[in-house]
């Protein structure tokens, strides 16, 4: 009896999981507002001799628009507030907020506006867009993997590399790498 129930549960799980994981981008069409509470924007900068400087932004906002007929016409926009940077070390946070790096007082927003979304698989896409920080704008690319779609909530895992020197934030190179690795989890709610 118990064995039968467990067997059924296991079979149900096997069926349910792939359906959730394999949800196609086309099925996700709609407009979403990024929910900061269940999203995160982490970054990591490698250091000479190993290890790295890890941090995250606590405050950001954004939207994801997935085109019904053509995923390629989808849009991703987000704004990060660099004032909210956190590394676990208040002195490093103050340094990052200062005019040595973000100059958050004069440049309170870092913006990303997508210009093209190219499907690279059933659940993945390459998002190209314009990143603006400290008054400088450059084209950047991010990889987005659809993590799940459930009850009007969509989840993406977004990764990408940005060269900080282009935005006037080259302080500390080469001790600290010029490459900033972004690792974001963006959860959007249909709205």
């Amino acid at each position: 009896m118990y064995a039968r129930i467990f067997g059924f549960a296991a079979a149900a799980a096997c069926i349910a999981m792939p359906v959730f994981a394999a949800v196609a981008l086309g099925d996700a069409a709609g407009s979403y507002i990024i929910r900061p509470g269940s999203s995160s924007i982490h970054f990591s900068i490698g250091k000479l001799g190993g290890g790295g400087l890890d941090g995250a932004f606590a405050r950001f906002k954004g939207s994801i628009l997935i085109d019904n007929s053509d995923v390629g016409r989808s849009q991703v926009n987000f704004t990060i507030f660099p004032e909210s940077v956190g590394t676990g070390q208040s002195r490093i946070d103050a340094f990052l907020r200062s005019d040595a790096v973000f100059d958050a007082a004069d440049n309170p927003e870092i913006q990303f506006r997508s210009t093209s979304v190219k499907r690279t698989g059933d659940t993945s896409a390459l998002v190209t867009g314009r990143l603006t920080a400290r008054g400088k704008t450059f084209q950047e690319k991010f990889t987005a993997d659809l993590g799940g779609l459930k009850a009007g909530t969509i989840k993406f895992h977004v990764t990408g590399k940005v060269l900080r020197s282009r935005y006037g934030m080259d302080v500390g190179t080469p001790i600290y790498s010029n490459v900033v690795d972004f690792d974001m989890t963006l959860t959007g709610r249909r709205g």
């Binding site: 000479l48 340094f95 005019d99 040595a100 500390g172 001790i175």
Partner: protein, 192 residues
């Protein structure tokens, strides 16, 4: 060659003289750099100057080790006969203290960067990664070594001032060779 034994020569050789002035310039330069870098409003410039201070600190440590080895190999020349008994006893003590500060200052700086919770790598002149001393990092240890480095710096520069005043007194007041023999190598060493 002179009949005097090596430790009884009248003057210093070029190696000792060059090391002396190079270390003197670096030591005073490091004091000024250290003083300025913690008082800047630009965090960017401060960061860069602190890295430069660390680079020069390791250069200084290397030169000081070389200098101490050189000094142990050939002790300082004897003082001119005109030097009185008090100075004759004080001079080696001040010199010993100067050597102790030359070593202790870069070492305490190394300890400071090793225990700092900021974990900023030390890469002298961007050439190679200098490993940290095996000391546990913590806020407490960082404050301790920062204070130690600070006190040593001020005491060290005070000692340099005393040493400089003594050298000038020898040259302008006593009119002996104590200062000039640290500017020009003695003929014995020239031939070596």
């Amino acid at each position: 060659m002179s009949a005097l034994p090596k430790n009884q020569t009248a003057g210093y050789g070029w190696t000792a003289i060059i090391l002396h002035w190079l270390i003197a310039a670096l030591f005073i330069g490091q004091f000024v750099l250290g003083f300025v870098m913690v008082r800047l409003s630009s965090q960017r410039t401060a960061f860069e100057l602190i890295q430069l201070h660390k680079s020069f600190g390791f250069l200084l440590l290397g030169l000081v080790i070389l200098r101490i080895a050189w000094r142990l190999g050939r002790p300082a020349p004897s003082l001119p006969r005109s030097v009185g008994p008090f100075e004759r006893r004080a001079a080696p003590l001040v010199h010993l203290a100067l050597y102790a500060f030359q070593l202790a200052l870069p070492l305490s700086g190394w300890a400071l960067v090793s225990v700092s919770v900021l974990e900023i790598p030390t890469v002298p002149f961007n050439l190679f990664v200098m490993p940290n001393l095996p000391l546990g990092e913590s806020d407490t240890a960082e404050s301790f070594w920062a204070a130690t480095h600070w006190y040593l710096a001020y005491a060290g520069i005070g000692l340099v001032a005393l040493h400089l005043a003594a050298a000038l007194r020898h040259h302008f007041w006593l009119r002996d060779t104590v200062l000039t023999r640290m500017i020009t190598a003695s003929s014995h060493h020239d031939r070596e």
